[in-house]
Structures are given as structure tokens and as C-alpha cells.
């Protein structure tokens, strides 16, 4: 079990955050921090690659709701790809899929978001 890590890059006006590790409160806070920094810099489109975060908990995921809320101020978007089936199911149960979008690949996501 390694520490939660993330890597941030930009494709056009979309910020892509690739995570690794357990998406718990610590992981959620790290994602939020990375997003808020970019939001302060004027960005409002975020795409999370959660391929290597196949284990999550509800506290970590509820921090994503905070990001969704924050992005409403600037008409922004949050989206995901490479979700483990259980992560997608969790997002559905919690209703995140009403306010953010699950894509099946980076290409598809970038095509729709840009």
C-alpha cells in the first residue's frame, strides 16, 4: 500500500489529474487542493483518471461533491475516466453522475469537453 499520489497535466483547456492509491479523505483532499489551485488560475474543466484508484471510500468521494459545487461558480465541469466498476457504481449511488460525467476513455472525454 503506497501513499496517494497525483499527477496534473493540461490538454488544451482541460486539466487532467491522474491519481494513484486509496481515494479516502487524504486522497480526496489532495485532489481538491490540486483542483482549487487550478480554479484560482482560471481553469474550470477537470478530468480525473482514476484507473489506479480502484479503492475509494465515501468520505473521499464526498470531497468530489465539494469540487462539483465549487465548479458551479464558474460554469465548470468535472469528469472521470478509467473507473473501476465498483467506483462507477459508488458514483451512481451517491448521485455524482447527475452532476459530473463518466467517460470511457481520455479521447472521448477530451472530444466532448473541449
Amino acid at each position: 500500500m503506497s501513499e496517494f499520489k497525483l499527477d496534473t497535466r493540461e490538454e488544451g483547456d482541460v486539466v487532467i489529474i491522474t491519481t494513484e492509491g486509496y481515494l479516502n479523505n487524504v486522497g480526496g483532499e489532495k485532489i481538491a487542493e490540486a483542483c482549487y489551485e487550478k480554479i484560482d488560475g482560471g481553469k474550470n474543466k477537470f478530468l480525473l483518471n482514476l484507473e489506479r484508484s480502484s479503492v475509494v471510500n465515501s468520505i473521499g468521494v464526498s470531497i468530489l461533491i465539494e469540487i462539483i459545487e465549487k465548479l458551479q461558480d464558474s460554469d465548470g465541469k468535472l469528469a472521470y475516466y478509467n473507473l473501476a466498476p465498483i467506483v462507477e457504481k459508488t458514483f451512481k449511488i451517491m448521485g455524482l453522475t447527475k452532476y459530473s460525467t463518466v467517460y470511457s476513455s481520455e479521447e472521448e472525454a477530451l472530444a466532448e469537453m473541449s
Binding site: 479503492v55 464526498s62 461533491i65 459545487e69 459508488t90 449511488i93 451517491m94 448521485g95
Partner: protein
């Protein structure tokens, strides 16, 4: 183990990410029972939430206890804490529409457990709480 129903018991202290030692155990038990990967992942997610509640809301530094019981083609998992207890019927069902704009984003654990498992029961008093959940093959 033919004929008997295997029991796994864990007593875990409150340490960061300790719930992952429970999910690893759940995975091994689920694999032995030949549950699908989908069901195995649902069990692990529900177990994470039950453990977090036991660790967090129990307001007690005692260990939590987890029992896995293989009952034929059904897996029963019990998570017990020695915390202050709660009345499950009084817990509000969370809605994302209400969470957005509210200061309280959390409160999803019980909802997830109920959606992901086949049956869920709560036994709670001021002495502690036991959540019993089952999943069929």
C-alpha cells in the same frame, strides 16, 4: 474444512487505512466462495464503510471486531464496535441535491452499505453497535 462453516475473525485497532486489511480478507474469502468479481468488490466497498463507521463514530479507542462466516453460498459479515451506539432509523437518507450547497457533504456510508449488500441489519445500544450484512453467491 468440509462440513464445517469457516469463520474468520479480525480484531483491528484504530490505525489509518486499517479497513484495507479487512477488505483483503474479504477478497480472499469471496474468491474461495467463487463469488463474482463484481460481488466481491461490492462486499469490499460495503465493508470499508462499515469499518470506517465503527472506527470513527464509536468514539472509543477499543478495537473493532469483524467476523466473516461462510454459510453455504452466503457470506455473512459482522462489524462490531464498542462505541456509543446510534438509532439507525433516525439517520436521514442522503441526497446529492441537498448536499450541494450544504456544509455537510458526508453521510453516505449506510446508504452505500444498504445498496451494495443483499441484507443489512443493525443492533445498537449505548454499549456498541453490530452491523450484520450478507451477500449471496
Amino acid at each position: 474444512m468440509k462440513g464445517s462453516s469457516p469463520v474468520v475473525e479480525l480484531k483491528l485497532p484504530v490505525l489509518p487505512d486499517m479497513e484495507l486489511s479487512a477488505t483483503k480478507t474479504a477478497e480472499i474469502v469471496a474468491k474461495h466462495m467463487e463469488l463474482s468479481e463484481e460481488k466481491s468488490a461490492e462486499i469490499s466497498m460495503a465493508l470499508i464503510e462499515a469499518c470506517i463507521n465503527a472506527f470513527e463514530h464509536s468514539e472509543s479507542n477499543k478495537q473493532i471486531e469483524i467476523h466473516f462466516r461462510i454459510k453455504g453460498d452466503e457470506l455473512e459479515i459482522q462489524v462490531t464496535d464498542k462505541g456509543k451506539g446510534f438509532d439507525e432509523s433516525k439517520v436521514k437518507i442522503p441526497k446529492i441535491e441537498e448536499k450541494i450547497g450544504s456544509d455537510h457533504k458526508r453521510g453516505w456510508g449506510l446508504q452505500l452499505i444498504k445498496e451494495l449488500m443483499d441484507t443489512v441489519e443493525f443492533e445498537s445500544s449505548s454499549e456498541g453497535t453490530t452491523v450484520t450484512m450478507t451477500k449471496k453467491k
